[in-house]
Symmetry: C2
């Protein structure tokens, strides 16, 4: 059994990672198509020993039972995804276009795999910062019921795409040569700096990224009124988002119990040995599939408060890997339309 | 009226900044002495047009009414500061050696100037991350009474001294040249990375830096049981610590009111205009005296919750400037022993 798989946005940072993850995990790909905008169409990308010519998304047809992994921007998805779904394809979409649409499943396979079953041709892949947080929190929630999350993020530039990574390298070199700071992708210089600004600002003062962490966490964890506060911040790292997470639960979870619960959890690596200076870091998580959790410590002022530090590769678990895991889930459960 | 002023640890990152701040603010310096370890003694530093030979701290005598600004490490302070105080000098000490000693004042002039009056020859200059946080929170506390602080920091490498700044430059260059990551000052590579580790780890799982933020905040704000949680994190910036701060207060403070209260507060600049992408950043705060506050927004889940983003130069307000301000306070109020 193999599947027709199509990558939309194949030339972007996440698209390339999706192609790599498909090959690394041995997903049963029959035909692989690569689609992108008219600007990128005609480029050749190699994949698993094959050379594949990127085709124009606007001219592409979709077929019944096909799996489409998409990361081409929300506006693009809004146009093509309903068309692909109508043709019987299943679009696993990495943009925010459909995430909060009530009948579109928003899925992290370790957390809410059941939600994927009732799709109507579109399944949303959550926001990168949200994915790693819910992977780390679900085992604690299952035991003690979360009542509060306060998270501050330290997000790598690759979350803003390949051009942002190039900007970090270019501008860091320029900075070290004494050149005046410049920027193009980011609204301010990123080398040796910190920007409390990811996504556009909303009328309530929060950013789009912050509200994604609030709303998507509630939807994935199926706690519609969960009290979530997020401050999302860009820092000069390439890959790997870090998160300082404070939680409160109905039932107390000691630090030791949290370590036990997380050690048994799928997709989680507990890295929490401060005596040996062992804790999660972006350079450890980069290129890895797991969500790393450390600095687990009971709050000193609130009896059911717990603090933890969570790092994961935003291009892997935060995007490409999670999308491929959803495809694997659909294939395994037979939740794809018959071709 | 002028004062005999002595810098201890004159050759370090903070010592140099103290010398610069004394000159920039026109502190009435009569004689200026520079002291350091035997290793650094004999070096010549220029200050305000004078050339000053650094002398050996171990061989130095202290005199009545002299102002000693010290930043030479806790062990050094524990030995020399009592000796200097016994001679009638006043030591304004930037280390953690005396901060939590009950009869040693721990002073941020904008917050608790009155505490400086009852010194016994030693006044402690607080931890850098704590200073900027209490400057930003005191105006809100005065209005609404703080009941909760949860802070995650983004701290610049200069907090670890001049060698740490050199390591960031050297290792960033090496990284961009494809060299293997190395480190000396920090326990792991710092370029393009994030380390949730500042100061040693304590048996309760928190770091020394995190517990400084808890204990020093309580002492300076004079709220012994204030519920403070800190996660302190090193990031690859040179100067300027950033803080994501969540607070709860007894009396609700709207975002607008918080902006008003902070706009009137000494030492604070409100920089909170997201529409124009204006918010505090390390590269804005570096070299500046003020504590910058932005991203002020009401919590969405807790009626008295408020979030803010606070950045200040850790070598200026976080260390040298605050120490010189304490010296100015002592001089202005006549709280120095008569010479």
């Amino acid at each position: 059994m193999s599947y027709k798989v199509t990558l939309v946005g194949a030339t972007g940072a996440v698209g390339r990672e999706m192609a790599a993850v498909l090959a690394q995990r041995g997903f049963p790909v029959g035909e692989l198509r690569m689609l992108a905008s008219a600007r990128s169409a005609g480029k050749t990308l190699s994949w698993n020993g094959r050379e594949i010519v990127v085709a124009n998304l606007d001219e592409a047809d979709f077929s019944r039972g096909e799996i489409v992994l998409s990361s081409a921007g929300g506006k693009v998805s809004k146009v093509f995804a309903p068309r692909a779904a109508a043709a019987g394809a299943v679009v696993i979409d990495n943009t925010s276009a459909f995430r909060m649409v009530p009948d579109v499943p928003l899925v992290v396979p370790e957390v809410n795999p059941h939600a994927a079953k009732n799709h109507h041709g579109i399944i949303a892949n959550p926001n990168c910062s949200t994915i790693q947080m819910v992977v780390a929190l679900q085992p604690l929630h299952a035991y003690g019921r979360l009542t509060r999350i306060i998270v501050s993020t330290y997000q790598a530039v690759s979350g803003a795409g390949a051009r942002a990574m190039e900007e970090l390298t270019r501008e860091t070199r320029a900075h070290l040569s004494g050149a005046a700071p410049a920027h193009d992708v980011f609204p301010h210089p990123i080398p040796f700096n910190v920007l409390p600004h990811i996504g556009g600002f909303l009328p309530n003062g929060y950013t789009e990224e912050e509200m994604k962490m609030v709303n998507e966490t509630r939807k994935i964890m199926e706690v519609p009124d969960l009290a979530v506060t997020a401050t999302t911040v860009r820092i000069p790292a390439y890959r790997g988002h870090s998160e300082s997470i404070y939680i409160e639960t109905e039932k107390k979870i000691s630090a030791d119990l949290a370590r036990q619960l997380l050690s048994r959890a799928p997709g989680v690596v507990v890295m929490d040995d401060p005596t040996n200076q062992l804790y999660p870091q972006p350079i450890i998580a980069a290129g890895r599939d797991e969500t790393f959790v450390g600095r687990i410590r009971e709050d000193l002022s609130r009896p059911t408060g717990l603090n933890l530090w969570c790092v994961s590769d935003n291009l892997r678990k935060g995007a490409a890997l999670n999308a491929v895991q959803i495809a694997e889930l659909l294939a395994e459960k037979g939740w794809l339309p018959r071709g």
